[in-house]
């Protein structure tokens, strides 16, 4: 497979994954569009450094760096409205279902936004996007044992923040 073919495949297969990760790491839809493009360009230029089988870990790690940079840049500039946030083409469920879906995502993002970025990255990586424990360790550049303890802390923090927003009854769930 040529580099070009591999890059095209990477972009086509993983673009939605990268975009979702950026959204969960706190970027608005329009910012996620631009940032996902930057991630793909970076990865395309370094395609020879991407080990087969580690594509998602490499992409997540790059997305995390880009998201951190975006957060730093955002602190330096005035808040901008995400004018495209409601501009999704009506390709999915009916309008009521779309509203319900959006509300769920907004709730999730509100909980995640209250978490420290390193715990948030670990949580999104493992619990939402389904990367393996090994991939989490690779993404965060930490030993497997540290990854496991960070995931536990991330889970506890998520539950704590969810409870504060009324989304995690103390009597239910694995985390009390």
């Amino acid at each position: 497979m040529s580099d070009h073919e591999r890059i095209t495949l990477l972009v086509r297969e993983h673009f939605a994954f990268v975009w979702r990760v950026l959204r969960r790491l706190g970027l608005g839809e329009a910012d996620a569009d631009d940032a996902a493009q930057r991630v793909m360009i970076i990865v395309a230029k370094r395609v020879n450094d991407v080990k087969p089988g580690s594509e998602r870990a490499f992409l997540f790690r790059t997305a995390w760096f880009v998201a951190q940079k975006e957060h730093r840049a955002r602190r330096r500039r005035p808040e901008q409205l995400d004018l495209e946030s409601d501009a999704h083409e009506s390709t999915g469920p009916n309008p009521e279902e779309q509203v319900a879906e959006r509300e769920k995502r907004e709730t999730l993002d509100a909980i995640l936004a209250r978490m420290p970025l390193d715990l948030r990255a670990a949580f999104v990586c493992f619990e939402i996007e389904g990367l393996s424990k090994h991939e989490v360790a690779e993404v965060l550049d930490i030993p497997m044992g540290t990854a496991a303890s960070r995931l536990r802390r991330a889970r506890e923090e998520f539950a704590r923040q969810a409870r504060r927003l009324g989304w995690f009854p103390r009597s239910r769930g694995a985390i009390a």
């Binding site: 580099d3 979702r20 230029k45 536990r152 769930g173 694995a174």
Partner: protein
């Protein structure tokens, strides 16, 4: 290490599980993917050509590396220019002849098979810049030859023009650009899924439901998991 299971495999409240599912269902707009593919093509045009040459040619053949590097830079410029300009014919390519020998590179069929042959005795004592037309045959591998890169630049430029027409709601202009793409690349283009998606949007703008349905069916039959599949299904459902 102490093991840890995925939380959603354990006893997580359904409300929380639903939040995660909603997040996993979120998708970017298809045209964002398409724009990214174009941007990645533009951004990597020069680097891939150059790195392909550097990786496969012995250091002693510096002249070949220089030639490929220059070709890469030129093809990068071609691609960058191609974002707004449609190329109608091959551009002349600047070639470098160096004091010791002039060499010609046969385009490889795949990476790592560059062959170099002497075509002329050592002549000029001073590096000279001459203009030639491409003498390489097209190859499927991106960055494998200037001709292949030129074709890709041309395809990207046509699709970019079509996308711009769709963005400005000009279905007729978009369809003209896509007809040009069809004439030039038929079924051998590298960005056929993007072309099909643009065809779908252009047909809808032109109120050509039958053509839109055909494009939607092609998207689904060629790649049901494509990022454009949801849009295609939606069009078919709305126009049974």
């Amino acid at each position: 290490m102490s093991d840890i299971e995925r939380w959603t495999d354990e006893d997580v409240p359904d409300e929380i599980r639903e939040l995660f599912s909603a997040a996993r269902r979120e998708r970017p707009r298809p045209r964002v993917l398409e724009k990214t593919l174009l941007a990645v093509g533009v951004a990597t045009a020069g680097t891939l050509a150059t790195s392909a040459a550097a990786a496969t040619v012995p250091a002693s053949n510096l002249v070949v590396v220089l030639k490929w590097g220059l070709g890469g830079v030129l093809s990068g410029l071609l691609v960058a220019g191609g974002a707004s300009v449609v190329l109608d014919r091959p551009k002349p390519r600047v070639d470098v002849a160096v004091a010791t020998a002039s060499v010609e590179v046969e385009a490889p069929q795949a990476r790592g098979t560059i062959s170099v042959r002497q075509v002329a005795p050592a002549k000029p004592a001073v590096p000279a810049v001459v203009t030639t037309t491409p003498s390489v045959r097209p190859s499927a591998a991106f960055g494998a030859s200037p001709e292949a890169d030129r074709l890709m630049a041309e395809e990207l430029a046509i699709l970019d023009a079509a996308r711009a027409a769709v963005d400005s709601k000009d279905g007729a202009r978009a369809q003209r650009e896509l007809a040009k793409h069809q004439r030039k690349f038929g079924t051998t283009g590298r960005f056929l899924p993007e072309a099909r998606y643009l065809e779908l949007e252009a047909s809808l703008l032109s109120k050509d439901q039958k053509q839109a349905q055909r494009a939607a069916q092609q998207i689904l039959s060629q790649d049901p998991g494509s990022p454009h599949a949801r849009r295609a299904r939606s069009v078919l459902e709305q126009n049974p």
